[in-house]
Symmetry: C2
Subunit: 339 residues, 2 copies
């Protein structure tokens, strides 16, 4: 399948590396031979209908340059949207930065792809949180596949678990830790008695948190993922505006000590029952949701099967790239191919 | 789809209840309308080509009788194998008791079904641990579906998780707690300082352990499940004889105290790396594998994505029945139907 990739951040770079490394493996196991025919970054695009050279793409990014500088294939200044209308790709991988305050550009990429009959894999959460119900309808109308398993839990197959559970049972509700940064901060505050500011600084030093940590500590990232989950798994036509949200910025250390005294720990829990909510909540110390460090955890409450919990890394370039490959394999199989 | 069910234990009774309760739901969501056309217990069978009455089947079992006593449809003394050759079912659900020492009868059921072009859902582990590679080949040769997700983790979709992980990543190895009874016993010994005999007696009182607890405490049940997992997920043509096995019967309380002093806990771990092995092993107290009570946990070691762990109940009639329904929905969809 021919791929167009918009955005050249750490997920895309890990994906390109993996596509090169696993070329023979993907063909052997699934009969799948992906080819990258278009890429775009902030400087422009590179397009070649018989496939771009992955080592050249990685080398130019390694040097801090734009793919549009590549001789013969580079197109400086070409927008992502123009790339989609002018290349021959069958699948768009939307991997531009997730900007909750400005999802329009990425939304435009998805809409353009759908209307041109392209399947879409999005690792960008922002357009999904803004308009997932409308996007799913547009994909269905154009009879194309729309996958986004890398948007929640990175490589951990959260959606697959939930879909499998829903096939035989009924998902009544969800409680989840969907943001590793805040879990790391709360874990440091509980287990090492760190102050909030020190735990945040440590998370920033380790690369878990951004210089501006608002998206994590105000619960925006978790709320975005919760919206996607609620749409896909619980059939709620929800958007970001439907989530009640409380972050951990103002967390009172006394509240943590009180929880500890009761054999409990404070976690930033994203929950979906009657309402959609992100807020600090207590969990028992032996609860499967009491995960350490920057791990994520999703716990489904089932009608017959009780609680089922999936724990894994919730972030990372290579981890998220495996979700893109999983989506690609799924699209390939759903449109009627198998090895 | 028309179902033949062999075995009328607690899983079958929960399944019948669920098929009755969820009839409209399954039709609405999947276009699936299962009908039970044959059942068998130790006393004989009941067969009716347009469908047996579920309330009547449940009532006769409630009274402690055999389905073969049902007027008009009962066939005293008819064997499971004869049922399969004489009914019109498209799917066999093999739910006779799992007997590792005598898997032949259940093996015969599966083989007969395959050779008559029936799809098979097995919740019976014994024939699978004895001969899974040969059974999978026989199913493939006869071009029928063969599902057994209820054999490992009851309703927890362990195989779905592993298959989804394997699609985008590579499963390098597995560490798992596949037996809830031994986990309960070890948990009691660790957290309440119970003696082995007392913890076992308590597990028996709660219905977790049988009067003869060998299958659990000698690691036989866990080894059986490990074999199934290794075949399906890791592509190993293994049988029960390939598993190194050490149970918890002779466990030294001193070993538990030493583990605790090092911040660790002893668990009966089923692992699949170079070799297949079931043995008591230590895990860190904050490891996702340190699950409490009778929970099960499966941890996959992935090439790119690190550890992914799924935690859920590992036993129970209704739980296992949801796995049968999931398998049924999967078969229905794989043979080309959707709602």
């Amino acid at each position: 399948m021919r791929l167009a990739i918009l955005g050249m951040g750490h997920v895309t770079r890990a994906l390109l590396q993996m596509l090169a490394e696993r070329h023979a493996d993907l063909y052997r196991r699934f009969g799948l031979a992906p080819r990258v025919v278009a890429v775009a970054d902030t400087g422009g695009a590179a397009v070649h209908d018989t496939g771009l050279s992955i080592p050249e793409l990685l080398a130019v990014k390694q040097r801090g340059g734009s793919v549009s500088a590549l001789p013969g294939v580079g197109l400086p200044g070409l927008s992502g949207k123009r790339v989609l209308t002018e290349c021959s790709a069958e699948v768009l991988i939307e991997a531009t930065p997730s900007r909750m305050d400005a999802p329009q550009e990425a939304l435009g990429h998805l809409q353009t792809a759908f209307c041109h009959g392209m399947h879409v894999i999005s690792v960008n959460k922002a357009p999904l949180a803004a308009a997932l119900p409308a996007l799913r309808e547009l994909a269905a109308y154009n009879r194309v596949e729309f996958c986004f398993s890398g948007t929640v839990g990175a490589g951990t197959p959260v959606f697959s678990l939930a879909q499998a559970s829903a096939a035989g049972d009924e998902v009544l509700g969800v409680e989840a830790i969907l943001n590793g940064t805040t879990n790391y901060i709360l874990h440091q505050m509980h287990e090492h008695g760190s102050a909030y500011a020190d735990a945040l600084a440590e998370a920033q030093r380790l690369g878990y948190a951004e210089a501006d940590p608002s998206a994590d500590v105000d619960g925006i990232d978790a709320a975005t993922k919760l919206v996607i989950f609620a749409n896909l798994i619980l059939g709620r036509a929800a958007t970001f505006a439907d989530v009640e949200r409380e972050g951990i910025r103002e967390i009172d250390p006394g509240r943590l000590r009180a929880a500890e005294a009761a054999g409990r720990r404070l976690k930033l829990i994203a929950s979906c029952g009657e309402t959609l909510r992100v807020a600090p909540q207590e969990v028992a110390v032996d609860s499967p949701l009491n995960v350490s460090g920057s791990l994520n955890a999703v716990s489904l409450r089932l009608r017959y099967g009780g609680e089922v919990t999936l724990i894994g890394r919730g972030a990372g370039g290579p981890e998220t790239a495996t979700a893109v490959i999983r989506d690609l394999v799924n699209i390939w199989q759903r449109i009627g191919n198998s090895a």
